[in-house]
Amino acid sequence: MPENIFNPEIQMEHKDWKHEANVFGKYLTGKLPTNIEVDLYCSAMEKNLTPISPKENKLLVWMMKHPSFTGWIDGANALQHPEGIIRKKIFIMTAILETSGNQNNLFLPVGFSPFYMFRLFVSGIFAVLKTIGGLIIIRWI
């Protein structure tokens, strides 16, 4: 089947969504999401089922087996497939984390501090490096 045709037979199971929530939550904030945040993610997936192409599904399965590379794939997708399903899933998890009431300190405005400026600088560098690495991984998978 051509890679760009959505295969309706590819169905994600509920337990996969829980694992996705944990992987994406840990990636975004550095810690595992709460049970409520995981449940919200599963509910969002159930209500927003979108067919996924075989190519993206292959990438997603690989990410779930290698969660430490989530940021790399996310960076590459930000350039190459910004409207793809993987980006959408991470975006939804970000929205859930922002509005779950547990992680406001990560989303509300912050003020100037030398430490934060350093963190911004380092984040910028990491973003670039991860993206380059992700582009290589995607080609290889």
Binding site: N48, F91, T99, V110
Partner: protein, 539 residues
């Protein structure tokens, strides 16, 4: 179902509210027929608190910030309506099935809500200049008085500063402008220091006039600075059409009928027979009226008129302000989070008024970002979400969004027609064409370049220009232009040519749209049209 009334108003938006109020003041109790969708899910869920406190304390905030079905998480192409928050999504409910539009070039946002599109209005109030009113086909002298009357009824706050000619104009009845948030303060401070150079370029900035109370009025609270205006209408400080309509109902001066979708009219010596459908059951409804005032919006009223007076290959003109927005970084606010109470409405405007070219100005409304959640910004950045969150968390206090509107004139390349559509309850759909000529596109691009320069001088660095497509301004007019009695036009008093008692009180008649927001002008026009409809009425 058969109903009878003396005065029938179709629609429940700002024009309808002012028409109803005008008639009520003359002792006439109008019937309002309207689909009347409301928010049945979220209104009671949002606490009477402020945005920051909710974010810090409420565990169930995701219910209304993201929505029951996560409809508050936008994805895909930006289009009008897709950015509505879950508590405001009712504004566009059912529109796809009842008001289908077929077009490659025009994507409007329409409404079946009680209050119409004004249920999500940003409350910006602008008077048209004399030149603009004359170009649009309005009576400038009559409109001056009407503007002031509307301001007194709904409650407007503002200031007579450099933005005055484009906002309050000669309006006398207004309250003091609300306190500015820190982004707006910083912008105006920069304007004051560079005023001469900006004025020489044709740019004037100041506080926007808003249909928001800074002092209590008629049982409505003053602005609470809760930064929740994208989510709720607690306290009623922001005027919405249903504020006026509910007040009239309480005084038994309005007969509001929701769940009614008007399809067409037939006028005879015995009156006007209005055909409609029940929006839930599709049952046919017939309303007999002595006078009808269509206030269904330029697109909605045009549909009704085209069905009522069908003609083969009929095309009506269409106006809609071309629009873009520019997310900007405001240098003065970098690293300075504003965690206090704030208004949340766009409070400042930058007006482009080129000397010697009064019809080709521009309007830039400036909005700070805090009340709309960080995650929505992250999608725009081509970097991993994790790093995007860190970077944007720092930048968000400095974000301002400049919404730039351009003027628009009539043209043969902008029109609408009705085509058969089996899936819609009315059996038809609106086909729309909207293209700008090369010279019009060129003018708009030049105007946008000038705005970028002006924004830079005001301490705001535009990151990019986003053009969401024609129709995204949510300003529509000119489908039944003011004329001298030609078919499918309006007389200057709002009477539909070829009829005796069918008036149109919305923006259908405007032959030109300046760049400014038109809601205040719609309301002033509706007041004048309703007054006209009272004439020759022998009870």
């Amino acid at each position: 179902m058969d109903l009878t009334t003396e005065f029938l108003i179709v629609g429940s938006g700002p024009s309808a509210a002012m028409a109803a109020l005008t008639l009520a003041n003359a002792g006439k109790k109008a019937m309002v027929a309207d689909p009347g969708n409301k928010d049945e899910i979220y209104a009671d869920k949002i606490p009477k608190s402020d945005f920051i406190s909710i974010r810090e304390k409420e565990q169930n905030q995701h219910e209304y910030f993201l929505g029951k079905n996560f409809e508050g998480i936008p994805w895909g192409k930006i289009q009008a309506g897709s950015q509505l928050t879950p508590p405001r999504k009712f504004i566009v409910r059912d529109v796809e099935s009842w008001l289908p539009v077929i077009s490659e070039t025009f994507r409007p946002m329409e409404s079946m809500a009680q209050g119409g599109l004004a249920s999500g209005w940003g409350t910006g109030c602008h008077v048209f200049s004399t030149n603009e009113m004359e170009e649009a086909g309005m009576d400038a002298t009559a409109m001056q008085g009407a503007y002031d009357w509307v301001a007194e009824q709904i409650g407007i706050s503002g200031e007579k500063d450099d933005a005055n000619p484009y906002c309050l104009g000669h309006i006398q009845h207004f309250q003091p402008a609300p306190n500015l948030d820190e982004n707006a303060e910083a912008l105006l401070k920069k304007y004051r220091s560079g005023r001469k150079a900006l004025n020489q370029m044709g740019f004037y900035a100041g506080k926007l006039a808003l249909a928001v109370l800074s002092k209590p009025k008629d049982g409505r609270d003053a602005l609470a600075y809760d930064d929740l205006n994208f989510w709720s209408d607690h306290g009623g400080s922001a005027w919405r059409p249903w504020v006026t309509m509910k007040d009239l109902e309480k005084k038994n001066m309005l007969d509001y009928r929701g769940g009614i979708f008007v399809t067409k009219m037939v006028e005879s010596d015995q009156g006007i027979k209005v055909r409609a459908l029940n929006t839930k059951t599709f049952e046919k409804i017939s309303i007999t009226a002595r006078k009808v005032i269509l206030c269904a919006g330029a697109l909605g009223s045009a549909r009704i008129v085209m069905r009522s007076f069908p003609q083969e290959n009929l095309e009506l003109p269409l106006l809609s302000n071309p629009y873009c927005y520019m997310p900007c970084i405001q240098w003065a606010r970098l690293g300075k989070p504003d965690m206090g109470r704030k208004a949340g409405f766009g409070q400042t405007g930058i007006f482009y008024d080129p000397q010697g070219d009064p019809l080709n100005g521009g309007m830039g409304a400036m909005f700070s970002y805090r009340g709309l959640l960080l995650f929505k910004l992250l999608k725009e950045a081509p970097i991993p979400f994790k790093e995007a969150r860190i970077i944007f968390q720092y930048l968000q206090s400095s974000f301002m969004i400049a919404g730039i509107h351009h003027p628009v004139f009539q043209s043969k390349t902008r029109n609408i027609s009705l085509v058969p559509h089996a899936q819609s309850p009315t059996g038809d759909a609106l086909k729309a064409n909207f293209t700008l000529s090369e010279s019009e596109q060129d003018k708009n691009l030049k105007r946008e370049k000038l705005y970028k320069k002006a924004l830079g001088m005001l301490g705001c660095f535009p990151l990019k220009t986003i053009s969401p497509g024609h129709g995204a301004s949510i300003h529509y007019a000119g489908t039944l232009p003011f004329g001298s009695g030609q078919p499918y036009s309006l007389y200057s008093n709002g009477l539909l040519a070829g009829t005796k008692n069918i008036f149109v009180g919305d923006g259908s008649g405007f032959r030109y749209l300046p760049s400014k927001g038109l809601t205040l002008s719609l309301m002033a026009n509706a007041h004048l049209v309703a007054k006209e409809s009272l004439k020759n009425y022998h009870g």
